[in-house]
């Protein structure tokens, strides 16, 4: 019996996906678990895998085509099985998200003709993509709008149980997209002015830009932001960093200022749990663990991979992990669980000579800090003018969770940690 290949929800917020590349062609034999195609979701390029053994037939979505989640994109037929012609099931291609540019005077997009597909009986497909979950977990997932396929089950045989859903963030939180719609990505695909004679060029929104647009508009609008700025003396942190890197010698990654800031932020949050929280409509969830989202600029946008339990990790571990996650973020190879579930975020534009800025909160988190450049300044120290390395930090707070004094107390602790890094050992 033929099994439908659906465009699956490969990220928690995915509503449609763009077929980047087919790994299998019409007529190729496929095995369960094998990659059929690469699909660009709103966050990353993910693999669409076979849910049955057989032969790939009736590929209905061309490379570059964007189709809605749940659409049939192909059929896996049993070897030798005849699959007849039938009505097309894939909605007409949308030009947006096709990844191709459209210039003002030349349309370059051609919509692939839909290919006929006979939908297999629903039961067969349901079996092929079955997720093991307790009835309660199913109900909870449905109510929370969580895709069970994306939840790791801890019960027998991988069964998703109540506990797994309590741990998993609710739908609203399963999306990364933080700090900065305002962040200009150094590698963003802003059209280079081609001398083609055209007065303008239209570039379709990629999936990630669409998500950023949707998510950040949902942040700055509804969330009552307020901002607190402080200037931190980074002399001792700089000395500590130099000493540590000397100590590390040739053993791979160096400790960066950002690593020190992540570590100090995690430490300060353990001392100010009121800032390590999620706003959840009718309650506030105060986290006992610190998961720091780190904004990383990627082509076309940004994403916030999460350093889990940053409060428990060494600087070297944080450095290694941050580097590795950023690397994969840039290659768009992050798994959803790697960019969701942060309890607080850090956005750093210091490398772009930005003195200070405000970051947009990534809901449901209640706070984010925006880190500026470290610059030498003439300041008064003990009554004498001195040249010191200084850095500005601006914290954005969700006033529904954090009040002015609460945020200020956290920021003061963070400042103290950075000005006296040894305090982190206490």
């Amino acid at each position: 019996m033929a099994t439908n290949v659906y465009m699956e929800a490969l990220s928690p917020t995915m509503e449609e996906g763009r077929v980047v590349k087919w790994h299998k062609r019409d007529g190729d034999p496929v095995k369960t678990g094998e990659t059929l195609a690469e699909v660009e979701t709103d966050k990353a390029v993910m693999d669409l895998v076979a849910r049955a053994d057989g032969v790939l037939r009736q590929v209905a979505a061309a490379e570059g085509q964007t189709v809605a989640v749940g659409s049939v994109v192909a059929v896996i037929a049993a070897p030798g099985e005849a699959v007849g012609a039938g009505p097309a099931t894939v909605p007409p291609t949308t030009t947006s998200g096709s990844g191709k540019r459209e210039t003002g005077n030349v349309a370059t997009v051609t919509a692939p003709a839909p290919v006929a597909v006979v939908p297999a009986p629903a039961a067969a497909a349901a079996d092929a993509t079955r997720v093991k979950a307790s009835p309660l977990a199913r109900r909870m997932a449905k109510e929370a709008g969580v895709d069970l396929k994306l939840v790791a089950g801890s019960g027998p045989g991988g069964r998703v149980i109540k506990k797994d859903l309590e741990r998993a963030p609710s739908q609203g939180t399963l999306v990364a997209s933080p700090a900065g719609a305002a962040v200009p990505s150094p590698v963003s695909r802003v059209p280079f002015p081609e001398r083609s004679g055209a007065p303008y060029e239209d570039v379709p929104l990629t999936q990630i830009r669409k998500t950023i647009a949707k998510r950040l508009a949902a942040s700055l609008g509804p969330i009552p932001h307020f901002f607190l700025t402080t200037e931190v003396d980074m002399e001792r942190a700089s000395e500590a960093r130099d000493a540590l890197n000397k100590q590390l010698g040739d053993q791979g990654a160096k400790v960066s200022f950002n690593d020190i800031i992540i570590k100090a932020t995690a430490h300060a949050l353990t001392k100010h749990p009121a800032c390590n929280a999620w706003f959840q409509d009718d309650h506030i969830r105060y986290w006992h663990e610190v998961h720091i989202g780190v904004a990383v600029a990627v082509e076309d946008g940004l994403i916030t991979p999460v350093i889990r339990n940053a409060e428990l990790k060494s600087l070297a571990d944080i450095g290694r992990e941050a580097k590795e996650l950023a690397e994969r973020a840039r290659n768009r190879r992050l798994q959803p669980n790697e960019y969701t579930g942060a309890t607080f975020s850090v956005s750093n534009l210091g490398m772009f000579d930005i003195d200070q800025f405000t970051a947009v909160i990534n809901p449901p988190e209640a706070g984010i800090i925006a880190v500026g450049s470290i610059v030498q300044k003439a300041v008064v120290v003990d009554g004498q003018p001195a040249v010191r390395r200084r850095m500005r930090i601006t914290m954005s707070c969700d006033h529904r969770v954090i009040d002015g004094a609460t945020g200020a107390a956290f920021l003061r602790t963070l400042k103290q940690m950075l000005e006296n890094p040894l305090a982190m050992l206490l």
Binding site: S134, P135, L136, A137, R138, R139, S154, G155, P156, I161, K162, K163
Partner: protein, 327 residues
Amino acid sequence: MATLTYRDALNQALREEMQRDPNVFLMGEEVGVYQGAYKVSRGLLEEFGPTRIVDTPIAELGFAGIGVGAAMAGLRPVIEFMTWNFAVLALDQIVNSAAKILYESGGQIPMPIVFRGPNGAALQLAAQHSQAWDSWLSHIPGLKVVAPATPADAKGLLKSAIRDNNPVIVLEGEMLYNLKGEVPEGEHVVPIGRADVKRPGRDVTFVCHSKTVAVALKAAEQLAEREGVSAEVLDLRSLRPLDEEAIVGSVARTNRAVVIEEGWPHAGIGAQVVDIIQREAFDQLDAPVLRVTQADVPMPYNKQLERLAKPSPDRVVAAARRVLYLD
């Protein structure tokens, strides 16, 4: 409130109901002169005389039949079986007469009769005398079945049974007769068909009745101490009708259940309870429901084997750990 044994609580119920209604009488082996094989009828012959406290020969089918006839004629007999193992001989009267009269008379002849006695295993009474008949008796439409676990429930349910116009089976327990507990004086009636939370909890529901209530309570205590698990102990009290609302309500709170009974697993009371849970609380379940029953064998005489064959707190704890995914 007075502290009474389960046996004296039953005695109090019998005495009060016999004082209240002259149509109530007690009949069975050794209930009079010997004052009951387990002394449940102590002092009753003296107070009510031999026409209302009737000693019978060893002939269960016979005196059960006399009881059915007396009930048809308007009396309210209480038939005591020395144990329910012996009552198997009387099943024809219980099932084919008592349970059918109202139905087959087109509702004309009520059957206000109580059959009572100890049920299930005691200690080393061997295979023929260590059987729990809960599911057999609960299977029959036309019978009501109650199985009190505490002295207070024993009194309250026996009173309800005597006042009910249908045949009611009261399952007592030899190992329960010495159990002490507070018993309200006078008019204390426990409605048939109403379960009771003996210990509230959040994480898992233990559905139990009769002797297994103590087993479940002990398991709940161990789980609270060792694992920090909060188990709810729901005492069914009535096996027919079952308090579906209480069962479903509890499982809806805890999302997990272990059903415990003294009988064998095959077609047991627990199977009926699990049927209710899977049907009415399907979307509340976070784990399959497990059962703890007597081992599926004739009860061994050997003391250690007997201990292993019975439901025990350890087995309940093990089942609870599984439904809580702690293993």
